[in-house]
């Protein structure tokens, strides 16, 4: 049985009113910002299920925007998210939509910035915990509790072995490894959730591996 953490029941410290509809939403926005890797300048947000029905009561919309601006779930600037987005030049739109057979508190976010864009879909699964289940059309499972290495790479023999070798050389233990692709030989995505923090040097080494197109590290959020 997993042991209950003291600060899971005496916490988290968060901005209200709802751990699932507010705190979890901030984290989903922040995860998107981290995956994009630069400031978000444009966001198209699709709210599904309970998120679409009750977003206004729990400030799910404001919370998502605050997260996209880089705020954590206990940031007291969260209520001013919309105003701060305008100041930061973040353009955004919301719509309600059906994301299929997914958790009722789900959202899809198309975020653009620095000439790049990312599409993520994720759910707030309760108590502020989240699960990102899609990144750029790839099926993943990411909850933000681990340091994570993300790569976009060519689907060729040996690329994944080289990436995991770099982590091994830096003494980084992989807790969970997700690899997915759309078709054979196309672009693929790797998510390595690790027990140890990933140093910048490891990131540079991964970047130099032939076949690796994009590499990012996502600190815990």
């Amino acid at each position: 049985m997993a042991q209950i953490g003291l600060f899971d029941v005496v916490g988290p410290i968060m901005v209200g009113p709802s751990s699932s509809h507010t705190a979890g939403a901030v984290r989903l926005g922040l995860a998107t910002r981290r995956i994009l890797g630069v400031d978000v300048t444009k966001a198209q947000i699709t709210l599904h299920g309970s998120f679409a029905a009750t977003y206004w009561g729990h400030r799910t919309d404001v919370a998502l925007i605050a997260g996209l601006l880089g705020m954590a779930m206990d940031d007291e600037r969260i209520p001013r998210g919309m105003e701060l987005a305008r100041e930061a030049g973040l353009e955004f739109s919301f719509e309600s939509g059906d994301l299929g057979d997914v958790h009722p508190n789900s959202v899809r976010i198309l975020a653009e910035g620095g000439g790049d864009k990312v599409v993520i879909a994720g759910a707030s699964v309760g108590g502020g915990r989240i699960n990102i289940f899609e990144v750029n059309g790839f099926d993943v499972s990411l909850d933000g509790t681990y340091s994570t290495l993300l790569t976009k790479h060519r689907d060729e023999p040996g690329v994944i072995a080289e990436i995991t070798k770099v982590l091994a050389v830096h003494g980084i233990n992989i807790a969970y490894l997700d690899v997915s692709r759309k078709t054979r030989g196309s672009e693929a995505l790797l998510l390595a959730q690790t027990d140890d923090r990933i140093p910048d040097l490891a990131l540079q080494h991964v970047q130099r591996i032939p076949g690796v197109i994009v590499v990012r590290k996502l600190p815990r959020f």
Binding site: L6, F7, V9, A52, P79
Partner: protein, 293 residues
Amino acid sequence: MEINSASQLLELCAERNQDIARVVAEYEAFRGNTSYEEVREQMRETLRVMRASVENGMQDKGERTHIITGYGHQFQQGCNEGKVLGGSLLQNVVLYALAVGQHNAGVGRIVACPTAGACGVVPGAVLAVADELQSSDEELVDALFVMGGVGIVSAAQGPISGAEGGCQSECGVASSMAAGAVVYLMGGSGEQIFEAASLALQSHLGLVCDPLASLVEVPCVTRNATSATTAIVAANMVMAGIPGVIPYDETVVAMKQIGKSMPESLRETSKGGLAASPTGRRLYKELLDKHSL
């Protein structure tokens, strides 16, 4: 080192010859691979955020809430104008709980304890009792460890969310956590801590989660205040020698089973109970019309 039940926690205390506060803090240091002092510092920060949420909540006049209107502020005015009964302890318990509940509903920074919806219960009971007893901050930090211990054994054996167990598993568990901390501040034993926790939870069994319009406002915020007062009543009864009768672990299991037999409409779906009352439905419709995407 594991804590899965109240009986196991009390055995650990006996084995180690330490009180619940110390054992819970050591447990967390072990579990989180950190030090006792670091865990203590994190709890000090938690206490600071709780206190700030009381202060901020008393200023909140309801600018960001949909139905409720600055309940902490209003209650404080009522106290100042001599309109309410009860001594300073009872007044402060209600005032602090309302203030924090209001602050949470108004997009303020709070400590979820054990959930955001029940975040006013523990500060209401524990901070007001600490004022009354003039407890030091370090005593309060220990009381929060005790409160966390009650929370851990609750979460290990039962649901801690309205969606799974109804309000008994949010305000009910918060009330039992608060009752344990209050007994600790009053100088009670480890056994008495869990007797008071049991009595507090017993008074919440069967309580459904039926918030209006899916908000954390009605009946949540006023219920935070009544659940906080229940914690004090439970602690007082136990300190006077009235027994809990049913051990806390068994009360939590009863709470879990009651939650399982609760229909979905009464578990945070806003489909039954007060949410389905004519007034509840009217308020929901008005808010929906105002906010539809």
